[in-house]
Point group: D2
Chain length 337, copies 4
Amino acid sequence: MIVVMKPGSSQRQVDHVIELIEQLGLRSHVIVGTERTVIAALGEKRDGAKQALETGDGVEKVVPILAPYKMASTEVKKEPTCVSALNLKVGAGHIGVIAGPCSVESRDQIVQVAQAVKEAGATGLRGGAFKPRTSPYSFQGMKEKGLELLAAARAATGLAIVSEVMAPEHVPLLTRYVDVLQVGARNMQNYPLLEAVGESGKPVLLKRGPAATMDEFLLAAEYILKTGNTQVMMCERGIRTFEEHTRFTLPLATVPYLKQTTHLPVVVDPSHGTGKASLVAPMAVAAIAAGTDGLIVEVHPDPEKALSDGYQSLTPAAFLAMMADCRKVAQALGRRM
Amino acid sequence: MIVVMKPGSSQRQVDHVIELIEQLGLRSHVIVGTERTVIAALGEKRDGAKQALETGDGVEKVVPILAPYKMASTEVKKEPTCVSALNLKVGAGHIGVIAGPCSVESRDQIVQVAQAVKEAGATGLRGGAFKPRTSPYSFQGMKEKGLELLAAARAATGLAIVSEVMAPEHVPLLTRYVDVLQVGARNMQNYPLLEAVGESGKPVLLKRGPAATMDEFLLAAEYILKTGNTQVMMCERGIRTFEEHTRFTLPLATVPYLKQTTHLPVVVDPSHGTGKASLVAPMAVAAIAAGTDGLIVEVHPDPEKALSDGYQSLTPAAFLAMMADCRKVAQALGRRM
Amino acid sequence: MIVVMKPGSSQRQVDHVIELIEQLGLRSHVIVGTERTVIAALGEKRDGAKQALETGDGVEKVVPILAPYKMASTEVKKEPTCVSALNLKVGAGHIGVIAGPCSVESRDQIVQVAQAVKEAGATGLRGGAFKPRTSPYSFQGMKEKGLELLAAARAATGLAIVSEVMAPEHVPLLTRYVDVLQVGARNMQNYPLLEAVGESGKPVLLKRGPAATMDEFLLAAEYILKTGNTQVMMCERGIRTFEEHTRFTLPLATVPYLKQTTHLPVVVDPSHGTGKASLVAPMAVAAIAAGTDGLIVEVHPDPEKALSDGYQSLTPAAFLAMMADCRKVAQALGRRM
Amino acid sequence: MIVVMKPGSSQRQVDHVIELIEQLGLRSHVIVGTERTVIAALGEKRDGAKQALETGDGVEKVVPILAPYKMASTEVKKEPTCVSALNLKVGAGHIGVIAGPCSVESRDQIVQVAQAVKEAGATGLRGGAFKPRTSPYSFQGMKEKGLELLAAARAATGLAIVSEVMAPEHVPLLTRYVDVLQVGARNMQNYPLLEAVGESGKPVLLKRGPAATMDEFLLAAEYILKTGNTQVMMCERGIRTFEEHTRFTLPLATVPYLKQTTHLPVVVDPSHGTGKASLVAPMAVAAIAAGTDGLIVEVHPDPEKALSDGYQSLTPAAFLAMMADCRKVAQALGRRM
């Protein structure tokens, strides 16, 4: 950490900061510059140190030097992590595609989609049974009945089931039915939930919150990793910005940034990331080109009749075309898919 | 709802949309304009209708006309709601001030702050016992022990206790100790939690998520109201923007906007909203001038030693000065405080 | 336009809005819904009509139906526009790549880069002679001397020269030396400049402002098109968001969105869009996959010595590798490059 | 500046950075920490140094220590600056209010508004003659005829005239008619314009760009100050965020932040900052409470008939009420108004 003193700070103030640094168990190192004095605080990072120093008299700001996360970092583990469940493999050279409807609506719907996306090359099936909805008046999902239908679709196709869990107390139930627990964007900083999914031992798909920085996103992963569960996929699904022609803004630079920063695999969700069916395929193909380890895409046999997110769902035919383009690009770049 | 057709849409497409509208139990009304055809869908709002129509062939966009929330709206209840707990009264002409440390750290700390903020005019005491922290390596709060200390501070001062609850399963425990349950910004869309705090029957302080629109914020309140609990305070605590000189951007226009839109009282948090102690008092005074019903402010006897958020905490002396200015402004504008 | 009345608006207020609509030369059409009355205003769009109606007594909001731009729209011209200058061709099936240093620094530098990027497949050379710099203490460019060096680089390579113009009074000078006038992101809404570059008759590269919506971006293009100059490239170079791990956030969904909305070609700038050399190539390749018509990339023979933007500049070797990957992806998707 | 090396950087890389620092005329100071090596670069700040170092091999990031602006800083000039023109005084204890229509539309309109706002206590008259409009199809202002009418309004009332200038070549014309040159938000980084208004010697009202950070805003002021013109007002008029219930987000924390950072006076524009007439007065009063030195407010005798911005204009009666509340708050806080 670097403590920057205000211009004209007194020797007494500098001494006080040195004392604070030493109380924190760190070593101090003073550098007197032309216009400012700065004090380096050296040693193993201590949480709380930054804010303790920030309140010091005469301190202008404190600049952290080290990343705040550890276990997620490539500095700690250089080899990429592969997350796998049944035939779904994501990371470490594998590109995995998860597809399916926003919500499970009926046995026919989910089995039909599952077969279609499997034929197109997906190895994971998404489908919401417990649905977090902005409005309390919206369809909230089929709950356990939906989980049973997902399990039926797995039995019919062998696809790994990915479904969202909304509360720690639901984790045991979901764990019985699904292969990958999804933590939704609204719950990225729901820490009791992160701990509960971590402790379940199941692979986790962690979605980025729409206002989360990369450090916050990686620290959310760190909550899961800290339980000993290392099967975590980082899912970019768009951030909230001033843009209004798309539902969210999908920043694909997240992909190469995370590939350089963490060993965890990166998955892109072009459905929520754009919110418009006509933009999903181009962004899915672009994500492959940018180096993503996986995709999660909404597909519905009849988007017009979908109980949620129909406007951003691909038809099975459109998904098939998207997959063909993704495969071409992956192969052109020497990647397996 | 207004369905806007694409230019050059065919009669068949228009007929199909009319059919969809009627299937949804709404009446349709076609208007043929110079360049576009638009179709109004009339009747009681049906959730899901918008997205069903958006996927219709030839549809360019669907424009909702009605607000998506009901019970929070001034259209449903014109008289302002007063939320009260012990001597804390917020709304319907009452300005209530809640103050205290970010985290409960010790009996001395919390009782000392409680007495100081009470003398300055606060009627609520804030203090975190269960702390949602961005990093798993940060201090996570004293948990139940912290709640006991808060209760002790209430016994000593009569202040109403406001403390954050992070998970539905903690609600019963918190309910035994505190007077107002706080739902933090990270949990604004944690729906099981919203339902649980609603059902507790306790007053709720609902913080705006840093990326939440006003409609989303009001719909989160609607989740609580729908349980029959009408004691909800809407707390503006800053949004995430590109600004970097403050921790968040505090948009005070939220105050008059919500006063026109909802009967629920509005509370402003200038501590998280700015993240810098030197900006807290000016923004607190400005919030009073903008018409807020309440304030929630971080105060710590020794910010340098605080285990969290010290850099944005006021000393008791600074809080006393802030309260004096707030009172002057309230009185100048004919408001009680 | 759809005028939405407040709930409980009176007949007198409705009549007044009808009168306003007719004064504007539009036809009105009243629809009485379950909870609101809405009034459609039909006829050729009149600027100013929206805001006149918004101030009407009893009006809650006015919803525009038509896009505010015309000449840029695919509704007016369906065939894609190809912008060309020397061998640089962008749009209508052509992918054009413009590369070069942020600033022209010396004859050796610019000629050396020009030869390198030409060999790698670029057909345009970028290089700033008049530099808009955030700080008045930064290098402001070589001005006319820089233009002479750009012309020398063109003479040596045949590349089309793309350079930024900062003020209407500089347009005649730039026009003598360069092949494409660039309007920078800071000047996207500098209307006298847009008119001046339009009237020059030269092709224009129009950069999106970092806070501009798509409608504002297209309306800026409309200022140029209105002069009769149709040679306009729309350049996405990143928007300002809360993200801090990249210089800007690069929203590649702009590419398919604009391809559906306008006939003008789209160019992506992954250098400013990320601000980090290590992220440029993945985003360039992703832009090709997303369907961009062109790229503009910063390349410097010795980024460490660059007078500006070195940290986001590729070396000639890195650019060569990037171009190879772009070409592979373009070919895989059946596009010429 | 602090150069942070990547973990595991080699001695050769460290030596190379030291060499780069010395080539830049700075002194280096190496600190070997537990996990990283950091190198301080000491000496008078050199623009370009940061980016030269950022490209160094093995460098992770470069952290600037000093603010990038100088002449605007309270470090250089501690006493607050008062900007004055006729009876308009802003800063150094004076609160000045500028009011008037978005656009000058006719002699009657402008003189009538001028008299009304003067009676309410304004000492400046705003009115656009050259209007930057998002759409080329919108009313672009009365140009020189508008300036003549503004001069007539000044003759009738003694109010100082504030009007926007859009291009360097218009500066001489505007300078003949107006007392304060306004640089609009779209032109905050139009550097030739900043230099031209600086050299005019006239007081300048500089509006913050909707995506500008505080450093960028202060550096734009620095462009003007560097010409020797110190009469610069910093105008906060709202930033672009994801919020959609207001036209822009008005971050009033700008006021206390700038009061601590610069000696230049701060002016708040609650009209553009909210975009809704019903929110203007509460935000104006809040701005006074937050410590602003001035306000600029849109007032129109008949907002329904305004050629621009009617929806955010106050009637003269509403402005009078707003001024009364502002005065009460100013007096309560011991400020002259």
